[in-house]
Amino acid sequence: MAAKYVGIDLGTTTSGLAILRDDGHPEIVPNGDGERLTPSVVYFDRHEGVKLVGSSARDGGDPDRTVHCIKKRMDDPNYILEFDGRRWTPPEVSALILAKLERECSRIIGDIDEVVITVPALFNELARKSTVAAAKMAGLKVRRLVNEPTAAALYYAHRFGIMGRILVYDLGGGTLDITILEVFGEEIRILLSEGARHLGGSDFDEIILEIYARQFRKERGAELFTDERQRRRVLKAGEDAKKMLSKLKQVTDTIGNDKDGIAQVNLTREIFEDAVSRLMLRTEMLVEQALAGAGLKPTDVDHVVLVGGSTRIPRVREMLERVFGFAPRSCGNVDECVALGAALFAHYGAQVKEVCNHGYGTLAIIENIETGEETFQNSIVIPKNTPIPCAESQTYITSEEDERFIEVEITQGEDTDPRYVDVIGKITLEVPPGRPAGCEVTVTYSYDENQRVRALVHDKESGRSQDIAINYKGEGVLSDKQVEETAAFISTLRIE
């Protein structure tokens, strides 16, 4: 029998799968190693061709054949890895993680038909598309994508039965997401989502790595690590120290290498917090941006919820308590609530009203009628935080006579300055010759519940239209055919 409501948190550092039980409560399903969360690490074994995923990949093997934090690359169209003559794109590597979860968890809960997968709120179009492709290649059908803070908020509301206005502060392994939502009875309405990339636990680990390296250099006059294997070991030690500093004010560690001996390092919570203070301030500024974007003051928020392992850092709680005037809460295990919320979302997703995570527009020359001044701008068609699904139109006019091609560049971003938005697609509409200037062209964007955008250009004069879904180009972007072929290939692989 197929498991009906399944949610997956495909995280930067750990991933988890949860199901909704018959009693209406979600539950984490452990992997084949008995772990509730699977490290998002993949090891490409040279000898047996097996792909190790999880703790065994993280803790042993050639670091040059081990892939960490692949989620950080899901929106990089040109990122490629190569092992044993085969190229691997980020979604393909992610597919291996998902395949492990699918295979091992389905032995416990039965076949998995459809899943809800969570993504960071700031994930752009390409990263979302890559996540869906990864699921397909792992043999999973995606019912919906849902933003991680939305899933966490759903779990929090379910767990504690609370109502009101909630701010979710989700600081995980690689990203920070902040979502403000309202819960009224069975309905959840997202007001706004903001995010920051390269701002998470793995970035804090790198800072501790630098502290250790500096201290070792001072004591031993040598470099602490000179290759990736050594670096990874120190990074792991730093991560362990970071976790201990959530409970202790000071940690003493012994670090070293085979050549230069060992040194003792003392890392205090104060030193650590000082070292990460700028990253922490970035998170505080994102909270301020979220509140301002929703037109709210801190006193307008009823609950602040912590999600993600990095929220265990005491400075996070202190900062949020200072901003809001009350202590934030967590839903128990901050690492699991996203997966648990995803399972709930699989059943109750229709009750969640979401918003666009990005603005979409087109490049245009805007003329001020009064002054005659012309400026080149990003003209926003769908503003960020518009409730979804939605469709919005904007009408423009052509400026030249006898234009044969109307080109519309589709942008993603909230800035009116074109330098600070991404051009994610282009529509070229061929029109008949001999037209005057001043012909009306309507651009319509529609945005679906999976945060995917389609664009339609309509020329009033000729009646012609052209529409596209956004497609990216790059070495790391797979076509539908390639996704199918890779799915077939992955189904033959041994993944442990």
């Binding site: 990089d76 490049l363 020359i365 080149f376 971003g413 800035d415 600070y420 991404d422 062209v441």
Partner: protein, 136 residues
Amino acid sequence: MFRKVLAEIGKVFSTGKPISTKSTSSASARYEEMQAKEKREAAESKRAESTDAKGNTPSASGKRKSQAPVVTKSAEELCGLEDGMTVDDLREHLKLLYRRHNRAASSLDEDKRIESNAMLDAIVEVRQRYIDKAID
């Protein structure tokens, strides 16, 4: 002011007569011109920064004629601080910059990501130095 003008035009021309925006085909050409100009200006700026006290610039082969250090902008310069800015002015200014560059740090363009991350570092440095210290 500009958006107000747009809104009023929208009301006057209720049949949908559009804002007088130009065709995006010429916008594309303008955009490419603007990008090319930015790249030229960035290259000029790099050459200017690496000019030594005697006014020498690196040769075409890329080898420096002198050993003068590269001059980089301070956090205050990157953030465009101006004399006479109050703490409130600065706070609002940094908020705008933060919003812009936080978004651009997720750009598909790697150069933009690098630039924006540098700007985010500068923004928090200025904030710590001039706003959070002022409050303390």
